[in-house]
Symmetry: C2
Subunit: 350 residues, 2 copies
Amino acid sequence: MEGNATLFDVARVAGVSLATASRAINGSARTVGAELREKVLRAAQELDYSPNVAARAMKRGHAEVVGMIVPDIADPYFSGIASGVMKAADEQGLMVSIASTRRQSEREAEYVAGFRRQRNRAVILAGSRTTSRAEVDRLRAEVERFEAQGGTVAAVSQRKLPVDTVVVENRQGARALAADLADLGYRDFAVLAGPRDLLTAKDRLDGFRAGLADHGVDLARERIVNGEFSRDGGYQAMEQVLAECDGVDCVFAVNDVMALGAISAIRARRLDVPRHLSVAGFGDISTLRDMSPRLTTVRVDLEKLGRLALEMILSSGDGVPRTHREKCQVVLGSSTPGPKLASRRSAARG
Amino acid sequence: MEGNATLFDVARVAGVSLATASRAINGSARTVGAELREKVLRAAQELDYSPNVAARAMKRGHAEVVGMIVPDIADPYFSGIASGVMKAADEQGLMVSIASTRRQSEREAEYVAGFRRQRNRAVILAGSRTTSRAEVDRLRAEVERFEAQGGTVAAVSQRKLPVDTVVVENRQGARALAADLADLGYRDFAVLAGPRDLLTAKDRLDGFRAGLADHGVDLARERIVNGEFSRDGGYQAMEQVLAECDGVDCVFAVNDVMALGAISAIRARRLDVPRHLSVAGFGDISTLRDMSPRLTTVRVDLEKLGRLALEMILSSGDGVPRTHREKCQVVLGSSTPGPKLASRRSAARG
DNA sequence: GTCTCCTGGGAAAAGCTTTTCCCATGAACG
DNA sequence: CGTTCATGGGAAAAGCTTTTCCCAGGAGAC
């Protein structure tokens, strides 16, 4: 009973050859007589046999493991996606390895290489990719090596790579948000835009600007402030807006945690949200749903993104990359009740 | 250049035997002549050789992977711990596999078995364990099998298993919190206590009660309401408190997300925190730090917990389980400014 | 009745590394 | 100068599974 039973033991107990035992257990193309199969399975049960995945991986060339790469697992956005991936993987009997780049996007390629060495069956790249050409090229090269080795790759919110991709409709979402805010009467916007080379951030900014343009609202260049994609980035960008921009009605932060930082910066100035300034975010992070005022944001079903990515991997196509577009939905909260009465009145008069 | 170079290729190019090549690359006990080692390393570099981890795992009996089991990766508490584990693992060149039980604690044993099959080098059990005897026994049995196979196991916030453990001083933290709240003048507490069979929840409740007792404050049994360890659990438990308990000053929720739910429940009644009721939590989740009012809570350094767990695994002891106690620290926020003026005055008078 | 084909079982190789065991060379020691 | 070690290199086995190839027996066809 010490150690682990091997397939050899099972075969011996069942009185068959290794080949038959393997075929009975794995259900290969070759059929096994019902009687023998029964015997093998009983022996396996009795010995509490579990296959040695290392040996299997060596022989098959890949392990039943999917690797996942996220910028930061502690960010609720990515842990939400990871949660969806893990749930779907569990249903398929797959293990999930997670690597966090800690927002150093150049490490993504490294981790893909690492997963290749691990002979993982698939890799899911989550998170907002960089727009830096050199990095994308390096990543693409690693992805190709991974695929050359027989692996499958999928991405979430990333359409720069020739792989199956779950795209969050960042543009559409931000555009709808802008439309709704304009409908509420806001006219003087500022945007906390995240890093300049982050695709997700860029898409949300572009969409937002487009939505405003639809309503004939212009977004001045100096009202767009770049910053880190994090809570602190939002705080600092907001400080800059407060210092430099006059007459701002409503601030759009390209993600929820930036919005959170922005609200803190506003309060640090002893101003109130939404009395003095309205704020909107993007993502609808669950821990923020109970915040008061309720943050206006754009809901993304994070778990669904993860699940879709895994499903794409399993149904891996005939080589031509597919794209699944996932819409998102505006959630209006009390953080954007409409512009201050004063300005609305003056607008009505004018 | 197609496929991957094997150690055999390296040996051939370097003009040495497999044994020498392996020894040069892995730095075994046997020394390799400087000249040959140099040749081997150059050949490996040239061929872009990377060892086949599956073959290595098979031979060595374990893979350089640590498995981690959490109740819910989307919960910021656990993703924080996971983040610490992953950071430390990365520094050691280890991969991390994560499994989420989705709060079904009976699945923990299953996942330990899964990691055993994967021949993972170690397992980290994170999260608040059940007090159910049968489940603990089953888990202990699986842990022993894992260790029998040569693996190491560590736990975070769990002292029911004979393994290296990072213990969060839940009792101490809750006790200090109770003391501070009592010092502020609160006397009429209610506790949203989480599931009855959850050790973490129980410890926090016990510590809180002890802290109150230190100040001569009694916590009546009917002021303790059990509920799920989640946001919704907090909401429901709070509803029950609002419906059934009179004269409550201050509510202690045994974790932050429950506190969040509680605050929502209070607001749903059109009451204000902290004007009508004060609320405290436990955990100091980062996304909640910007909430207004600032939630009074007990800070736990989540990343540190994860890092410590991994370090314990690497320095795996001589068999006798070690315990690292991690203190936590009370953070007083505006959600508990002290009891309402009215009651404080009457207390002063009486 | 013989030949061919198909089904299902088994032996053995392959997959890649690590490690044991053996061997040769040169140094140290008596 | 002969014996004994220590050092470093190589051949080969082990670790466990999957899969190819071979083979035997039975069924069907002519």
